[in-house]
Amino acid sequence: MATSPQLETVESADYLNAEYGVKSWLLTTDHKRIAILYLASITFMFFIGALFALVIRLELLVPDGTLVQADTYNKMFTMHGLVMIFFFLIPSIPTVLGNFLIPLMIGAKDVAFPKLNLMSWYIFIVGAGMFIYTILTGGLDTGWTFYTPLSTSFVSSSVVIGALSIFVVGFSSILTSLNFIVTVHKLRAPGMTWGRLPLFVWASYATSVIIVLGTPLIAISMALVALERIFGIGFFDPLLGGDPLLFQHLFWFYSHPAVYVMILPGMGIISEIITCFSRKGVFGYWSMALAILAIAVFGFLVWAHHMFVAGISVYSALVFSFLSYFVAVPSAIKVFNWTATMYRGSLYLTTPMLYALAFIGLFTIGGMTGLFLASLGFDVHVTDSYFVVAHFHYIMVGGMVTAFLGGMHFYWPKISGRMYPESWGQVAAAVIFIGFNLTFFPQFILGYLGMNRRYWHYAPQFQVLNVLSTAGASILGIGYLLPLGYFAWSLRYGRRVGDNPWTAAGLEWKTPSPPPTHNFPETPVVTWEAYNYAELPKDIEILREETFAGD
């Protein structure tokens, strides 16, 4: 099918060319432009975090390496964790894909509070700026978990500014989430009932609720650490009767739900991708939606599973271990349902689909190892070891980053109006998959063997597995650079696309690519169910043309 005639004229008004100039971008209130601003910011922060990871893996090539000194190494893993979690993983899908897609998916012209949306981005920039300042003025070497009294009384790095930068960037999250919650409640087009929402909207909504309720706790944790350091007031000081475990409770009460903040939007994206490339509605729509909500609720009830050996009572430990198994059930439901969605579908192995399939496999492994960790007797041995490091990287990188890349590929034509080169996409996906597994699978073995996390030097018998891990990391790094390259290339040379190159379901695909500033000329009226693939053409438009595969 040929592209529709109007796209031959380059000057059709879309959000990208509606206005020109730096000011029009920096003062925009268009959710789509704000999404692009965020895309640039989080990509930048991702590569800073990746640089820290590079130093870590290079140092760990030999058991007693001196590429960096111990203090510097401690700063590397601390800042790697903080940058990746707070300045990449938590914002990424919500602020980029969420901002771009939610109004489009529900038939709205923008989010509920567009100016607040822009302010959220500026707050993010201030927080990121403060963190970069922290990096440049001595860094942070407390571990991303800031445990007291180490962070309050025993290190001399830039803890105050670092902690406050987290406080600030937390506000950015909160305001974005507030915006999304009100948008989903109040700005849905007529006929767009909750039961017709794409699962990505459900996932973004649940994520926003978690952020709104949980982030203030990290704010207060960081504020208390900063106040203790600034004024010498010993809130966590054992000398005053202060309890270091109180900090851990306050910290993990946020930081555990935070991991669901990181993964839920990714799960939403996977549902969008798998349905499109199976040409089928999702298996068990309401189970999937309720599973998302269940993950959000249960996610708040399990925080002390990070503290099984910290000195909590046996009774607490039993309760938290028990509850941790409950949060695994909805995640399992999702994995089974995605697989069942593919059953008797009509599958295309495009780049987004490859990422989605990788997500299912890697998230499953990560999730399964979470079951290991929830088992008390097992956790005692491996907590604080590389087993845990491998577990969360399987979920965060194997899950979340994979989903982000899948989403970026799937929505790139909508966002930019251009298609990326598909064969490069597939190559990059394969490189990333191989590199990722080589990096992190050996770490499960290392953890059980006895290699501790946050160790600058390690026992010599762990070296071979560490070398494998570093080799994998270099491959992974190359894999991440590839999309950066070909997405940029596609902005100039990628083929232009019509409204719905993937012939996908959803309101967002009923707009031009890229969409105009106000999304819809008139508010649409929705009369169809979500994922109505039965009513759509069975073939994917862009894949019917031979030229696509040859790009």
Binding site: A70, N74, D141, T142, Y147, P149, L150, F154, P238, L239, G241, R279, G281, F283, G284, S287, G311, V314, A317, L318, Y325, A328, V329, A332, V335, N337, T339, A340, T341, M342, Y343, R344, G345, S346, L347, Y348, I360, G361, T369, L371, S375, L376, G377, F378, H381, D384, S385, Y448, L449, G450, N452, W456, H457, A459, F462, Q463, V464, A534, K538, D539
Partner: protein
């Protein structure tokens, strides 16, 4: 070659290994199954071979199955792990008591016979050993991978750990909670010796006297004995037989006089005043180190069982009662 599985050197290790293998087998099977199913679907339902999707979008029985069955399996994981954990939290009654003080960046261990070690811990094989631990500064964690046991070591509070080594040899000790610059250097060895060799090592240490005797000396030097007399005349309670028993506090509640109670009392006496006594005990915060504190605890503990007592001045030959302290 490089190892892929750690040695098992304690009674707990085999149990944890068993759990691990069970977890691997069950979750591995399910994971492989899911991957296999996906591969089959990719092959069977690829667009070129299966051009039209069939809208199979739900099945309540199937969904219920894959909610209930995983939950059941998870409960097995939970119970198995919980059993091990509860056992690890319950030191057997006649455990050999060893004290551990952690500080940046070394481990100081103290045996009851007075033997002290830095970054090493000698223990006998096939004997229950209980560690009472505290940190002088930040949170550390005591991990012996070959025993599969670990516990955080906290400032301001005692934590305990027990194990029973069932194999002689030298095993790694790692600090397992990030504690600053030399965290990865805060490592040591646990040396498990068979009975005879252990006795030999124990008595070779020199004439420093038992740990409780060190505490007794301190008890005298710091003036504790002036108020805590062993008769009813003291301004403070008689400490004989106090350890491990309930103590009535002036605010009406009662607490067990355990290690934590003794430590708290020495550092912050005003917090829990004993019924019938005036709040005049001075604080020894900053005067007593954690090592010294443990020796005092060991000494007071020794006052609980008459036969372990050392002869001291103003001590009655036979304690009047082994119950609550006498009230003025």
């Amino acid at each position: 070659m490089f190892p892929l599985w750690p040695i098992s050197a304690s009674t707990m290790a085999r149990q944890v290994d068993g759990l691990y293998i069970f977890l691997i087998v069950v979750t591995g099977t399910v994971t492989l199954f899911i991957c296999a199913v996906m591969l089959i679907f990719i092959f069977r339902y690829r667009h070129s071979k299966h051009p039209v999707a069939e809208q199979v979008t739900g099945s309540l029985p199937l969904e219920l199955t894959w909610i209930v069955v995983p939950l059941g399996v998870f409960m097995i994981f939970f119970i198995w792990g919980a059993n091990i954990y509860v056992a690890e939290a319950t030191p057997p009654k006649d455990s050999l008591q060893i004290y551990v003080v952690a500080k940046q960046w070394m481990w100081k261990t103290q045996h009851e016979n007075g033997e002290r070690e830095i970054n090493t811990l000698h223990v006998p094989v096939d004997r229950d050993v209980r560690l009472t631990m505290i940190s002088q500064d930040v949170i550390h964690s005591f991990w012996v991978p070959e025993f599969r046991i670990k516990a955080d070591v906290l400032p301001g509070r005692y934590t305990t750990l027990w194990f029973r080594a069932n194999r002689t040899g030298t095993f790694h000790l790692f600090c397992s909670e990030f504690c600053g610059t030399q965290h990865s250097g805060m490592i040591g060895k646990v040396v498990v010796l068979d009975g005879a060799k252990y006795q030999e090592w124990l008595t070779n240490g020199g004439e420093m006297g038992s740990f409780a005797a060190t505490g007794q000396k301190l008890f005298q030097e710091l003036g504790c004995a002036n108020c805590h007399r062993f008769d009813t005349q003291g301004r403070g309670p008689n400490l004989v037989g106090v350890y491990g028993k309930p103590v009535l506090l002036s605010r009406g509640t009662s607490v067990i006089a355990d290690d934590a109670y003794i430590r708290q009392h020495i550092l912050n006496p005003g917090f829990q005043v004993v019924a019938g006594f005036k709040p005049i005990m001075p604080s020894f915060q900053g005067i007593v180190t954690e090592d010294q504190m443990l020796s005092l605890v060991a000494y007071i503990k020794s006052l609980a069982t008459p036969q372990q007592r050392e002869p001291v001045s103003n001590r009655p030959p036979v304690p009047k009662s082994a119950g609550a302290p006498e009230v003025q």
